[in-house]
Each structure stands twice: as C-alpha cells, then as structure tokens.
Subunit: 539 residues, 2 copies
C-alpha cells in the first residue's frame, strides 16, 4: 500500500478518525453527542433502576441488537455503532443513579468524573513509562501522595509535591499510594508486600467479615488459606484475634487483615485495638478501607477510622464513596520505600542509563504494565469539589442510610438488623426466612422495580470450617447522595409488596415465583414490555 | 441532615451532578464540551508529539497548575477543574496520534472508541454481577466468544450467541475469552491456569525474547524463575526449545510461552513448530499475541499466525493494533471449561440459589471483582469498522513500517536492523554505539521533537545468566495508520540531526548532552518554550 505524502487520513470522511491530536476534537465532538443522546434515550426507555424481565429477557434484547454479528464483515460506521450499542447498554443497565438501585458498592458516578474519563481515553497515556505519560505520571505521583497523606498525616492537604516536609529521605517516611483497579487488587498488594517482607510462609489472619478478595489473593500468591476468625458481631474483635494469633505463635510471620466498612453490613472493625493486638504479636496489619476510607474527607466522621494510620498498608476505593466511574482504587503505604518489592526492570521501559539521565522509573508503581490514567478523574474530582464538597457528599449519603433505617424501624412489617455505621442498611420482612428474603430480592430484580443486595450474617459470623447457620437479610447499600425520603419510602413499599404472600401486588408473570429469573420470559415488542415494567415500579 | 422529599439534587446548581439517569445527559453535555475544548487547546499548545524540556520541566508545569493543592479545602467547580487539568494533561502528553510519537506499543485511539468510553463511564456498570451490569455482561459474553472464535475457529465471525455450532456442551469445545487490563494480566492468567492444571511445580519455559511480564507473573504466583531460552535470531526457535524441554525431562510440568509479536523487534515466533515441540514433551503452550494477534482480522496477513490455534491459551491486546484506549486486553482459551480454575464464590454476588434461579455467575470471569466494561468500546469498534475496516487499518499500519524500513535502507547514514514483520522498525545511525543510540533517543525526547523507543537485541538473544553483549537500536513502533511518508522522512532527519556530533542541528541547551533530562531546565514563560520546541521539530 503506497503511503501518501499529504493529508491524513487519506480516504476522507470514510476513514475512521483518531481521538488525539489537535484534529481529534473535531472527531470527538459529534460522536460524544451521539453517546449522550443514546444514554438519555436508553435511560428513558428503561425508565427505572434496571430492565425488567431478568437475564433471559436482557439476553434476548442484546441478541436482537447484535443479530448482524458481533464482528460484521463491513462496519456500520461510528454513529450507528455508538448509537445502537450505547442505547442498548443504557436501556439494559442497572443504573446506580436511580435511588432504587442500591444493591452493591456500585456508585453513581459524578458527571465531572465521567467527563474526565473522556479526556483520559482520548489522550491514552500509558502509565508505565514517562515517555508515554509525561504530565499524567506527574499528576498521578502528586495525587497519590496527597491521598496517602490523608491517611497517614492526619489529612494535611498539601500539594503532593516533592517540596513537602516529608520529602527529606532517610529521615522521615513519605506516605505514598498506588492506583489500582479496585479493592481486590489493593488487598492483593497488601498480601503480596507481606509475603515479600515476611516470606512465603506468611499466614493471613482475617475476620470472617473480611472481603472474599483476601482469600483469593492468598490463593493467587501461592499462600495457604487464610485463618478465618469468627466475627459474630459483624466485626473482628480484639479477643478472638488475639486467640488466633496465639495459635500461630509469638513472632510467627502473620498478616492481619482488618476491614473498615464491611461489604455485608458496612461496619468498621475496631482498628486501634486490632493494631494493638497485631503489635503485641509482631504481626503486620493491612486495613481494607475500600468502603469506609472516604470518611477521611469528613472532619465530622473521620474519627470512626481512628487507628487506620497504624496500618502497614491500606486499601481505598474512590469508586465507592468517592463517586468515580470504575476503576479508582488506591493502595496506600506509610512510606514510599515500602513499595520497593514491586521494583521491576525492563530495558525498553526503564534502562539504568535512562533512569540515571533523569527519566522517572514508573514500572514499580503497578503490577500491570500498560495502564490507563485513572488518576485523572480522581484529580479532577478532588479539585472540582474540594475536601469540603466530598465531605458533604459522604455525610449526606450516610444521612440517607440513617433515614432508611428510621423508616424501617418505624415499620411494623419490617425488621431492622442494626443502625448503620456507614451507608448500608440490612432489613427484612418480619418473619421472613432465607428463602423468602432471597425471593423478594429476585422478584424486585425480575420486575425491574428495585435492585437490593443480600447479606448472610450467619456466614459472616462463622470461623473457618464451622457449619454456619444461614441468616439472610436484604441489603440496601446506599451510595446515592441525592436519594429522597420518598424514594426510600417507595423502596420499602416495593419490598412489602414483593413478599410471596403479598399476592395482589404482582401482576407480572415473570415475577410470580422465586425461580422467575430462569424460564425464558415472553418477548413482547420492546416498547410494550418497557411500558409494562414502568407501570409496575413507578408509583 | 434532613432528607428532602422532592427534587434531587436539592441544593440546585451548586451541587455536583450525577452522570447517570435521564438527567445525566444534561450534566454531561456541557462538561464534555469543556473536555474537548481543553484537549484541543492543550494539543495546540504542545504542538508536537510530546512536551519539550524533559521530566523536570513537565513536573514544574504540573506543580504550577496544582499550586493550590491537589485536595483544596473548597472546590473550584467542575468546569474549572476539567478545563485546567485536561488542558494540562493534553499539553503535557506524549500523543500517539502524532506520527512522530512512535516509541512503544502505545496506540492512538480511534475517536469512536474514546467516545464509547464516555458511555461506559457514565453508566458505570460493574462486571462482577448481573445485577450491576445486565446488558453489559451479555454484551461482554458475546464479544468475548466472537473474538475467541477468531483465534480458534479460523475466524468464523458469527454472533457470539449461545445458539452457534459450538454451543452443544460436552461434545465440542466452545472457545471463550476474558477481558483483561492488558497483556500483562493475560500472560499472568496463562501462567496461573498452567499452575492450577499442572501444580505448583510447573516450570515456565520462554524465549529470551518474551515479555518481561512472563517473569513477573511467575514471581507473583510463587513459581520458580522461568527458564530463559536464548533467542539469537529474535525469535524462539524449535531446537533450543527442544533442548530446554529435554533439560526439564519428558512429561515434566512445563508451560512453554511463545510470542507472536515481540516488544523489542515485532517478530513472530514459529508458532506451529513450537506447538509441535511442546506436544512432543507434553507441555502446555501459551502464546503472547498481545501485539501480533490483531493480524487475525486480515485475511492477507493472518497466515503469519499459523499455529496460534494450537495454543492452550492466547493473549490479545486491542489497545495495540486495535486502536483502543487502554485497557482492552483479552485472554483467550479454546474451551470455556478451561477457565474453571477461576471459579470463585462470594455469597453476596453469586449465591447458589441465585445461580440456580438463573442469575449468571460472573465472578469467575476475572481475578478482579468490581470491573469496568472495557468491552463496550471494543464492541462498538468492531461494529463500526467491521472486520474489513480493522483489517484495513492493520494492513495500512504494517505498510507504514515497511515504508520506514525502505527509507532507512536507502539512507547511507542509517543502518536497518531487519525488514519489519509487523510494525516495528529497528535502526540506528551507522557506527553509533549503545551510548550514542540512547543519547539520540533522550535528546529527541528532551527536545519534544520525537518519541522513539530502544531495543537491546543483545539481551534479547541471551539465555539465562549469560553475560549478554549490549546491542542497542532505536525502535520505531509504528501504530499510527495515517502516518505519511513525509512524517517518516522528518523522523529520520531528526535522528540524523540529533547525533552528538551532528552539532549544528541543536540550539536548545536542554538537548546538548545525553544527561540533559536530569538537570532542572530553565523555565521560560510557557508560550515561549512551546514556540521554541515547535520551531525545532516541525520542518
């Protein structure tokens, strides 16, 4: 193929256009318009927190859009492809911006953060070497240091620059952080640093309330299965931890993993007391603060995290109580030198002579190589909202949870598990057994009327190998700071009406029984089905 | 904080807005406009492939923008934050859309793919459970199957649906793929599946030309250091592999890792012959086709990958020769059942009764938990361009590389390493030693005039523990399909002029010697410095 000497792309308007360069803007502008229109259209057609009809129905709708094949021989063009697939995704989304979508630690992203992602994608810096990400790598370094100081220096904001008080090497530890894909990768890094520091015989000891990723990390890294300490109150208490560490022996290579904001109940382990116990046995301490860590922004609430600054490493997730699009995880350490086990060499990226000549060595800042600049949206959000703005969102979200708990407590048909510490509320219909609770959740989901989670508090309480008693609750993980009292009232009404014996409430065939997600639902014309879904869940 | 009963957000225009829901569009539209303006402004101010002045200068510019702190107490608002940080990132970017930015496997993303990312970020589906990503998870499943068939079924496009010929379980293998953060994670999965299949004594055997992530994966997973087979021709040849496997013993638990598109030279191992050798010794075979895998789209070029379909697992990266924003990695297996070692249970995400009721179990589709829908941009691109459109871009890009090689071969002052197989061209000034080559690269970088990579072919040739002889080349990794012949001519002129003894060519103090990236450069007003940079590199 002969190369032209002028004007690119050469085949005019029919050639796909690049996002970068000064010309990229002209290509991006109309296409982002198509995307935004499709998002809006899809949301209007969905008209609720998620599509009705369950997995089979959604699969059928996707199949219909893709009937020409995922990889057609000839393309349909950028506008058609963006319009049809983004609209399909929006119509078939569980949208956390809807207050009735409250199952998981799955936040509604801020518009400012989503818009920043466009900039990151168009520029496409890769964070593994300076010559792929000059400004982006510097922005990441400064943002990471600022967030790390929030954990370890009591929240002195500062500019994250090299000129700060902590910059004198050899005299004072400089807190630092790495950007990760989320809590799972951050927890894995916490376990990995313990392995590298303490050796391959290190044993992880965590509460039965710890996130499943702690167990998965141990498996991945070739370590024995973690010791699972019973957590009957939902938190890892000092005495059972002490007993577990005594079982390992004084001075044994142990990593204790505590949780600041459990996935099941949103509760915070007593971090200071656990740090005391870990210190007593010479164990390392990692705190998974993926959920609760963002309380650091709030001067009113950050006291709940007292002791966090004593951890050897900390997991944060700004895609939970930080309202970022996924991914925005952080792995935080009290001293940048703690990260040295991740140092890694590849001549094409960080040759010695390049580093000697002043090129920053970035390869040790992740286990990934090519890596997108997730830091941009985080930095933009921090700047746009400031600490006070984020604190306001965190406090407001916790207030939403307290309101829901009050409504549940005042409702004779519903049972409240406990007052929320963060933004998770566990509740269930009075007298409902596990099967009924699970059925209510699936029924709302099949209906398209609400997305609630589930928490088995029995499993959470139990230690290794114990025959746990199921104790299932509905879980509302509230991450929408703009939920209204009327939304919460609607949510509770939907739950009451969805009880299997509530009978009259449901007219939808797909929602008639707990197994309703399984059989292929009838496939009416798309507009009909959405109308009928909307009729049910919007009072 | 009392909750309002009506209209959210309640504090009017001053509250940060959400990206999702039907109202999200109104929030996103003006903000994406700010981002696109900032991208354009930054690109114009940069006026070249990367900012001049090297790391110290870029760091100083970033510090200036962040002088109010990374986390200010009060926010500056969405428009200011987006405008200033995106403009800063664009001005300080190494932009792969500039044909003179050709160091790494760092592609210029297509506008259609970057626009799709906006949709993904606004909706924020999380791919770890169906009730966070109803349509997105179905789109991912179909797209993964379609790409896997491209590897294992000779490229029958099909619709990726469950009704295809491969869907009859127990009789025929159904190729499948997982979405990953890139080649590094995919290679790690290849090694992990080998460990789970063959046990913790598995030994990885790879060429000296293999990507560094293979070694890092073995370390991460607690395996011994891989056996590094010399690859003096740049590729892993059958005979040395046979010798290495004989050293391990017939039937020993071994994973052979081959490469289809090396990072250093862009060459492809003889896959079919290596598959024969692996079979002879009963070893597993993983092929890292992160770079070369996209040749599958081209009927003209896919023959270069003959034998790929015999691998037990394959790494693909659509953020290389697929023009996606990072991340768009894939890990492909010939049979979906091969992925079962990744199965994982977490009651809140995939309880048995939920799965029995028809909820898809997604947790085994990644080692991550929360996970962004990177598949959307891939699916949109496949649909927009079609197989023929992507094939055209791949072929065009390879043609760019051949053109550069021809220009080098015809240039008496330059030496060509070899004709390119993919889109990597290694070359250097005649007679330049390693120090001179490294210096030219850094000089162009400090200048802001071009971004070239480096490849040490001596290290690539050597086996484990050998005292390798440095043999350094400039590396042009050409991923911009729209590069013109005149761009390539400019690139070569810049290289010739940047030779330390070319003297007259450089007037910039920061570019005067190989260590020029290190000392703090003078900081003229921003516009001045960019003007001077632009003067040098735009003929």
């Amino acid at each position: 193929m002969p190369l032209p000497t002028s004007s690119a792309p050469t085949d005019g308007a029919r050639a796909p256009l690049l996002a970068g360069g000064a010309e990229g803007a002209a290509a991006l502008r109309p296409l982002t318009g198509v995307v935004i229109d499709a998002l809006q259209e899809g949301a209007v057609r969905r008209c609720g927190p998620l599509p009705g009809g369950g997995p089979r129905r959604v699969a059928a709708d996707v199949a219909e859009v893709l009937r020409g094949g995922v990889i057609p021989e000839q393309g349909s063009g950028a506008r058609e492809a963006l319009g049809s697939l983004v609209r399909m995704l929006a119509e078939g989304a569980a949208d956390p911006a809807d207050p009735l979508c409250a199952a998981h630690l799955h936040c509604p992203p801020l518009a400012v953060a989503a818009a920043a992602e466009l900039g990151a994608s168009a520029l496409n810096p890769s964070m593994d070497s300076w010559d792929q990400a000059p400004a982006a790598s510097e922005l990441e370094a400064r943002t990471c240091r600022a967030l790390a100081r929030l954990v370890y220096d009591g929240g002195a904001g500062g500019d994250g620059g090299p000129g700060g008080e902590g910059a004198v090497r050899g005299r004072k530890a400089v807190p630092d952080a790495l950007v990760t894909t989320g809590g799972t990768e951050s927890n894995q890094l916490g376990v990995l640093l313990a392995r590298e520091r303490l050796g391959p015989d290190v044993r992880v000891v965590c509460g039965a309330n710890a996130h499943h990723s702690v167990h998965r990390a141990a498996w991945l890294l070739g370590l024995p299965e973690p010791v699972r300490v019973p957590a009957p109150g939902g938190v890892l208490a000092p005495d059972p931890l002490r007993a577990a560490l005594a079982g390992q022996g004084q001075g044994a290579p142990v990593l204790v993993v505590a949780t600041a904001g459990t996935t099941d109940a949103g509760v915070i382990d007593p971090l200071g007391e656990l740090a005391d116990v870990a210190a007593e046995f010479g164990a390392r301490l990692h705190v998974d603060a993926a959920y609760g860590g963002m309380l650091l922004f709030s001067r009113r609430l950050r006291g709940l995290l007292a002791g966090l600054e004593r951890a050897d490493s900390v997991t944060l997730d700004l895609h939970k109580l930080g309202w970022q699009p996924v991914a925005a995880g952080m792995f935080v350490v009290p001293d940048e030198r703690d990260l040295s086990p991740l140092d890694h060499r590849a001549d094409y990226l960080n040759a010695d002579d390049d580093c000697d000549a002043g090129l920053p060595d970035l390869l040790g800042r992740s286990l990934r190589t090519t890596r997108r600049p997730d830091v941009l949206k985080v930095a933009v959000t921090l700047r746009a909202l400031g600490r006070s703005g984020l604190a306001g969102l965190v406090e407001r979200t916790c207030a939403v949870a307290h309101s829901l708990a009050e409504l549940v407590a005042a409702d004779r048909e519903l049972e409240l598990f406990a007052r929320p510490e963060l933004s998770t509320v566990l509740f269930r219909p009075v007298g409902a057994d596990g099967a009924a609770v699970a059925s209510v959740r699936r029924r709302l989901m099949a209906d398209g009327s609400a997305v609630l989670g589930r928490a088995d508090i029995g499993a959470c309480a139990a230690g290794s190998g114990s025959g746990e008693q199921e104790d299932l609750w509905l879980k509302a993980t509230l991450l929408n700071p703009y939920a209204r009292r009327s939304d919460l009232e609607s949510l509770l009404k939907l739950v009451r009406d969805a009880l299997p014996d509530a009978g009259a409430a449901s007219s939808a065939p797909a929602a008639a029984d707990p197994s309703s997600l399984s059989p292929p639902p009838p496939r009416p014309a798309l507009v009909d089905s959405i109308t009928s879904t909307a009729r049910r869940h919007r009072p």
